[in-house]
Symmetry: C2
Subunit: 231 residues, 2 copies
């Protein structure tokens, strides 16, 4: 019985890794779609998000069934509850990748991103994808040091986000209001996506150490929170 | 034992209502702070968010302790798991109110909101506060009809959000890029705050009916999702 139980726990972990893989791929593809004004690619990202949503619902149902059937305590209970939280982070990350793709679709055949910001948005997209790949690795390895690394990597996202705002505020900005609005939202989507990847990693830290990591995982308490507004 | 248990369940519910009250007040005060460029009020909203964070941590700890000690099943289990999710929605709403207040602080002594958008931002702030007040009422009354009403009320937020973008995109916009960026982020904060209030209400629907309402509570699947991008 306990064996079947731990097999189910493992398969929930595998489901989380699969979700992380899907949303990591989604943010990378969405970034390509918006930089290349690739409508087909954007549509594929938008359509693929339902798979992430289905995976989350499935994981949640199984986690709750596990709580009901097995009534885990201590570490096992922490694992199940933390899985519920991680699946919510990952589902939300999928939404944010979808927002990027929807913006690409909205502006097609134009691109929402002016040439002089391609490099910054590309960096934000690549960093977001790397952060999620690391988060998946953290779920697999339960490596606390790697998990803590993500927070440091996320500082780079905050710097990119700030650079984006500085570029927007520059008097030489010539791309008009609509593009400024698009770029502002894009920056916010990438920054939030990164926050969720960090959050997933932090929840693993909580899982392994029992230390409550909310201060480190919520916007409200994060040093980077300030950068969600123009800085 | 079961009595002490249900008392604890009730007190968790009361904690959620208190969180909803605090974040509802926070978004109202933050809106006043940004419209009046009231630094003291903004600071008070920013400082008060720690109380929301503390409440969430306390509720989570108690919910998990309850799972461990009482090992609830069926409806009782659903209540505890749903409480964990609602507390996350409410904590996040508090962050968003704090973001509005931080923007007020960032632009002080100026106001981030130009005169011709005061009415729209005021409406968004008031609607956000009303939605959260209704969400609290739904937690107390478990009134499914009222919960479903929130989704309808949220359509008004989507319309306001769209009106905001249309105003931004208007050729007559004379407030420059920085203000366009501020207004874009503000619109996003209010729209997300409203989403979380609706999400809280939807989770009560799930609690009462057992029907999984995620499609209705996540950006990805919400009809309003499109309005998170300029429309």
């Amino acid at each position: 019985m306990r064996d079947a139980y731990h097999e189910e726990l493992d398969s929930i972990g595998e489901g989380l890794v699969e979700m992380a893989r899907l949303v990591g791929s989604a943010i990378g593809r969405a970034t390509t779609a918006i930089l290349d004004a690739d409508l087909k690619l954007a549509e594929s990202v938008i359509a693929a998000d339902t798979k992430v949503d289905d995976l989350q619902r499935d994981l949640e149902a199984r986690a709750i069934a596990l709580l009901a059937r097995q009534q885990p305590v201590a570490t096992d209970l922490r694992i199940v509850v933390t899985s519920l939280r991680m699946s919510a982070d990952l589902e939300r990350s999928g939404d944010l990748a979808q927002h990027v793709a929807k913006l690409a679709r909205l502006r097609f055949p134009e691109t929402a991103v002016p040439r002089d910001l391609h490099a910054t948005i590309l960096e934000m997209g690549q960093l977001a994808q790397r952060l999620m790949a690391k988060a998946a690795e953290v779920i697999i390895t339960k490596d606390v040091d790697l998990a803590l690394q993500l927070e440091h990597d996320d500082d780079a996202m905050d710097l990119l986000h700030r650079a984006l705002f500085q570029h927007l505020m520059d008097d030489r900005w010539q791309h008009g209001i609509e593009t400024a609005v698009d770029v502002t939202l894009l920056g916010r989507y990438y920054e939030r996506f990164a926050d969720h990847a960090v959050s997933v990693a932090k929840r693993v830290v909580y899982l392994v150490t029992g230390e409550h990591a909310d201060e480190l995982t919520q916007d409200g308490g994060r040093p980077g929170a300030g950068q969600t507004e123009p800085a």
